[in-house]
Point group: C2
Chain length 348, copies 2
């Protein structure tokens, strides 16, 4: 198999000895710094190659004056969630351009876990962090920020001052969806949303309310279901809605999995071609369902790119006042959101 488990990695000293120069000269050659003649450079390069020398970045960053680890931390809610994964990928791409690697973790929306991961990152002296803040109190984040760690919040803004953020047009786009449904003639538009501890959920609900107000519709409390965690909860909530004496003729589902659950319930009753539905956040195969699901699509790569751009600016020393970037979501019409209300409902 293997000559032996772990042999010692060669160091600059080994290279220096072989090339018959000082370690400082090796350092100069490795880092392409001036002060080494062409002949020496070649000798050192050859020695490094033959030993398989690779610099030790941890030792280097310990000694260097800028103290950079060429590593950033990414702390999202759940890396296996497609939204988070796409975001991570976008940040990673941008990081790679800077020769920076990404330490990634899932906070599970748990403040304690987030705090733990935060100190884990700090202990490794990452150059900066891109964080999806957990629902509750953000004091761990704030403390970290106050220590001077460059930080950018994505998807949800900070509850404290002085920190950059990148979010989507949660409120405006939600309003837009409700307005579209109302324009078709819908009067009873239901709202199904995720946990209200999440900022995005609250924003989308507010957008829903604005949409109703904007079109002169009245809010019917029995048409509002919040704090639905996962598709199953959404499915039962939808069933409850459809059992009402006056069921909704249209639904706005404010999150991915909620949309899926609602679709399932509609389909079970054969109502998926009769009740209009607009969902927040696109998902794969949304166009393959019958009918195609109309959604508000977030520009996830743009979110990630923007977050990465901000964090690297800060790491680069940018001291300007905090930016709160907002990336627009787009309404993608596929059929489910264009279903008109039944004629009986528009009667005299």
């Amino acid at each position: 198999m293997d000559s032996r488990g772990a042999r010692r990695e060669p160091t600059m000293r080994d290279v220096a000895a072989l090339a018959k120069v000082s370690t400082k000269t090796v350092s100069r050659v490795i880092n392409d710094l001036p002060g080494a003649g062409p002949e020496v450079v070649e000798r050192v390069r050859a020695a490094a190659r033959s030993l398989g020398y690779r610099p030790n970045l941890t030792a280097s960053s310990l000694r260097r004056s800028d103290r950079r680890s060429a590593t950033i931390g990414v702390l999202f809610e759940d890396l296996s969630n497609p939204f988070d994964a796409a975001l991570l990928r976008a940040v990673e791409d941008r990081a790679r351009q800077n020769g920076v690697l990404v330490l990634a973790g899932s906070s599970e929306d748990d403040p304690d876990l987030q705090r733990e991961l935060l100190t884990s990152l700090a202990t490794r002296r990452v150059d900066g962090m891109v964080v999806m803040a957990v629902g509750g109190h953000q004091d761990a984040l704030q403390q970290e920020r106050e220590r001077g760690t460059p930080m950018v919040l994505v998807d949800r803004p900070p509850t404290f001052d002085g920190t950059d953020s990148v979010t989507t047009t949660n409120r405006d786009s939600s309003r837009e969806a409700v307005v579209q449904l109302a324009a078709l003639g819908h009067r009873r538009i239901a709202f199904l949303g995720d946990r209200q501890t999440l900022w995005t959920s609250r924003e989308r609900y507010t957008g829903y309310l604005e949409g109703l107000a904007h079109t002169g519709l009245t809010l019917h409390h029995e048409l509002v279901h919040t704090d639905l965690h996962g598709p199953d909860a959404a499915e039962t909530a939808t069933a409850t809605l459809l059992d009402l004496d006056q069921p909704p003729t249209a639904m706005f589902t404010a999150q991915n999995l909620v949309t899926v659950g609602a679709m399932r319930a509609l389909r079970d009753r054969g109502l998926h071609h009769r009740v209009a539905l607009i969902g927040f956040d696109d998902f794969p195969l949304a166009d393959m369902l019958e009918p195609g699901v109309t959604v508000l699509r977030q520009d996830v790569p743009a979110l990630g790119r923007k977050a990465a751009e901000l964090i690297f600016n800060r790491i680069g020393g940018d001291q300007s006042p905090p930016t709160h970037a907002v990336v627009p979501a787009t309404l993608v019409q596929r059929g489910s959101g264009e279903i008109p209300p039944p004629v009986t409902d528009t009667g005299p």
Copy 2:
């Protein structure tokens, strides 16, 4: 905003000075080592707290004898791909239990990029790596392995000796799918697969061939389309198949996106209830389509857990011969795979 950009992180020396002890004693307290009296421990803890001291793991791992960075590298093809993302998440969960963080990167199935990321990880002295090998030559991986870096390959086995791997029952499960289709009476079963440079694609094709052989069916070359990269290629390939004089009555699609493309083409022609389809790899909403898509589901969390278990064993010093773990995939019947051939085809 901020008192000033980046103030210096407090060090052990600062804590030692405040607590009026030596740095060594601080080290003992921080690491819960014996040799410090209760009173001193309290003094040091108080000092550390009041300064907001946090140990510097890079300095620590430089000096420690075991030289551990408490970090592993994960190198997958594309972190935004749900399969990779779920795998990453499973590895991450296991890593967290060991207090280990994950450096993640996407190799894009590009050997040069993989080599680059590999050295990036090595430079940071990760304790081990979990890698999805790129299609072509694996010499960069092999070199890394020969240096003694603990390594586990996932999804695709090594082309060299002495390295652990975790894969799925690609071949056996593919055969099983074909056998099920043949048992329903299908005679013309098409194969649609991803790039043949990928080991998984080749295995699944072999399984297809085995399935044909096992049931006494003949291979019709015009029913085989390989090297389909993405849903669009799969869609046109499917269209070509359906235009044949004797089109297939069943299809085996050997990858996620290929399945989606094939579904799209079938649906465009209104044949989705007539042509049987079994896909490799599950995907969200597969059950919501009409008909539900029958798939071979990989146990992704199990793959990830196993990979993590292996890598941590190796890091822990396990010297036993290499393991090649194989996690079974399951056939999930949802409708599309249970469509019988048209009666005209089974005639005399």
